[in-house]
Symmetry: C2
Subunit: 402 residues, 2 copies
């Protein structure tokens, strides 16, 4: 869940200067190769099947796609989402443990509105999804980033040390699968350790599973929510699997938490659009969504492979990157002294775009990082795009006497 306006706002909030707005201004240029936006590829979106489905819904004469729905969601779509979660996570949420949201960002907003008071502490991964940083900050929470590593994601040992010093987070927000922007996943051991800390220290884990269904292999690690439905709220989205324009997601968590989120949602938008709920259910029940996801996983795996290959070929050896096993992103680390905000601006002249690392941290880190999204770059542009980036980095590396 990310949009150009996110980035724009990140600029103003994070003081990254004009680089991002320049990137966005250039985003429409036809010869620009953009690794910027974390968007799914339109090639994965439903085709005319969706129009057929809508016609069927209308002919059936059931007004539910058009009328208001209960805030929690329509019974059929709730049932369908429960089944999907059960298939992914091996545990089916009870009716009282589930809520259909208007995208997963709304789940974060509802959690924030329900639980956060000014100056409350929220721990996030550093780097993390910048929409989450903004959502928690909009409730005047203090947002603190705990580092990750490529071996197993969030450094639980650092979090444990932080807790030892007396820090008392209300929420710990994590994207355990194919993380945005880092492109790494949390290991099973760290998941166990994290839910242990949540139980012993009394914080709520917010698990964002935006990319969970987009692994490049069938290997899947148990979700935090399935391990600890008593202390985890899982926020999911259909933006990366169905399509973003439908604005649908879910929150699964302890009954008492979900009940509060439902109350908050009544005042936010009453209900997630019933038209979209019914289309999702129909599309999913007919097996189209599963097929779409199979195709999407192939597409994104192929692009990740192309990107990793091109980076090996063109990037200076002083640059390192993560090797994603799913999702949309890889995360680059440049040599000390480089400034990715300057580079991103300069890259536009070379007709290549990416997002510098700073907006993904709440604290100004990320100067030497770059996020590359491979999800929406045409296969045939990837090599050339990375070649341009490599040339730019080489030039800087030489200029700066590296």
């Amino acid at each position: 869940v990310e949009s150009p306006s996110d980035l724009f706002s990140a600029r103003t909030r994070e003081g990254v200067g004009d680089a991002l707005s320049e990137i966005l201004a250039f985003a429409g240029a036809t010869d620009l190769i953009s690794f910027s936006g974390g968007f799914p590829d339109p090639a994965t979106f439903p085709g005319e099947t969706l129009a057929d489905l809508l016609r069927e819904l209308i002919r059936a004469g059931d007004p539910s796609p058009f009328q208001y729905s209960p805030t929690r969601g329509l019974p059929g779509p709730l049932d369908y989402v429960s089944e999907r979660i059960e298939r992914m996570d091996g545990r089916r949420p009870d009716q009282a443990e589930l809520l259909i949201t208007s995208g997963s960002i709304e789940a974060l907003e509802l959690v924030g509105k329900t639980f956060l008071d000014p100056f409350d502490l929220v721990v996030v991964e550093g780097p993390t999804y910048l929409g989450a940083i903004m959502a928690f900050r909009s409730f005047q929470a203090r947002v603190l980033a705990v580092p990750m590593d490529a071996d197993g994601g969030l450094r639980i040992d650092v979090l444990a040390n932080l807790l030892e010093t007396g820090a008392r987070p209300k929420l710990v927000y994590t994207i355990p699968d194919h993380q945005n922007p880092a492109g790494v996943s949390m290991s099973a051991e760290r998941r166990t350790a994290l839910v242990g800390l949540a139980r012993s220290r009394g914080f709520l884990i917010v698990e964002d599973v935006a990319y969970r269904e987009l692994g490049f292999t069938d290997e899947i690690v148990p979700s935090l929510w399935s391990m600890a439905p008593d202390v985890v709220v899982q926020a999911g989205t259909f933006s990366k699997t169905f399509f973003p324009g439908v604005r649908l997601g879910w929150a699964a968590g302890p009954e008492v938490v979900i009940e509060k989120l439902v109350t908050a949602k009544q005042n936010t938008d009453q209900c997630a659009a019933p038209l979209g709920q019914r289309l999702l259910e129909g599309y999913g029940r007919a097996g189209h969504l599963d097929k779409q996801i199979v195709g999407a996983r192939e597409l994104y795996r192929r692009r990740a492979d192309l990107l990793l290959g091109a980076m090996g070929k063109y990037l200076p050896e002083e640059v390192s990157w993560t090797s994603p096993a799913g999702g949309f992103f890889t995360w680059l680390t440049l040599p000390d002294g480089m400034d990715s905000v300057d580079l991103a601006r300069e890259a536009l002249a070379d007709r290549v775009a990416f997002v510098p690392g700073r907006p993904f941290f709440p604290d100004g880190r990320g100067r030497t990082n770059i996020r590359l999204a491979f999800s929406r770059v045409e296969d045939e542009d990837i090599d050339e795009g990375v070649r341009r980036l490599g040339a730019l980095l080489q030039r800087h590396w030489i200029e700066e006497g590296g």
Copy 2:
């Protein structure tokens, strides 16, 4: 913008006891005649035209209905909404003065989130839309109701007196056209007086125009926003004109205000569903929406006429009611001593349902009031429904020695 869950929550918040949940539990009973929900009639909803439109959108190959949109809205839909506002209000919002929202309740939420601190004062009409009371209270605002009358809506003289005593509201929320639940409209003179007060006293007017396009005649009073775009935010919805299941509305107001609402919306749901935005635009541009509204106005006018006729026939003369010139509602006032919560519960045994007045006030008033919604009662049930209500009231009137 109202849903059964609203009413359910109103029960718990307003302490109306179990009456409303009982009403809702009975809502599915087939022989129950319900004047409860403020829902549009499904007979007004789009038919297969909408499926044709979706097919055209898909064939055109434009990914915008399926991808993320800018938070403010897609350019085409924004343009279409601007034109509609200009046609209704005689003033076209600048691009910077408009935002497409996920229903008008979201506009209220965003205004609340942006402007309200705990203990801030919000003035509303008494009675008013209970979703608004809940939305403002969710930011811990104090909500104060100023009475209305059938001659011209909100009693501006009472508001002026209140301001004289030193009350400093941040927001004044009004539904000037065919108000929910009162079924009255604000006169042109009072509108002028209200914007004068807003300018001299420095509060923001939130104008909810949910029923503005559903007048029974072509007579229309200038909107507050068109009179004073410097101090008014207009919150509109397509729920009553297009259909609720699309979750679309708008906020039009001063550029500085709209900019803040856009920022808040980024963290709420990123954007109103682009699929719905594009369907609205296509349906509207082809002239279908205007035709739908003509049909809806006829339908609701006919039902209002039937209801008013039946009330004249069956209700004791001690009961008075408003005569709506549009919208979905009429508001009944019963003799002192009656309790409409008890009546509503008892009415279920007589197979007729309505909402008692108390949830529509922030302060426990409304004991002797009833809201009747005529929007979704079949024509042929109206007479019988009112006959049942009349018999119930007669029985009470006699029992209580009236």
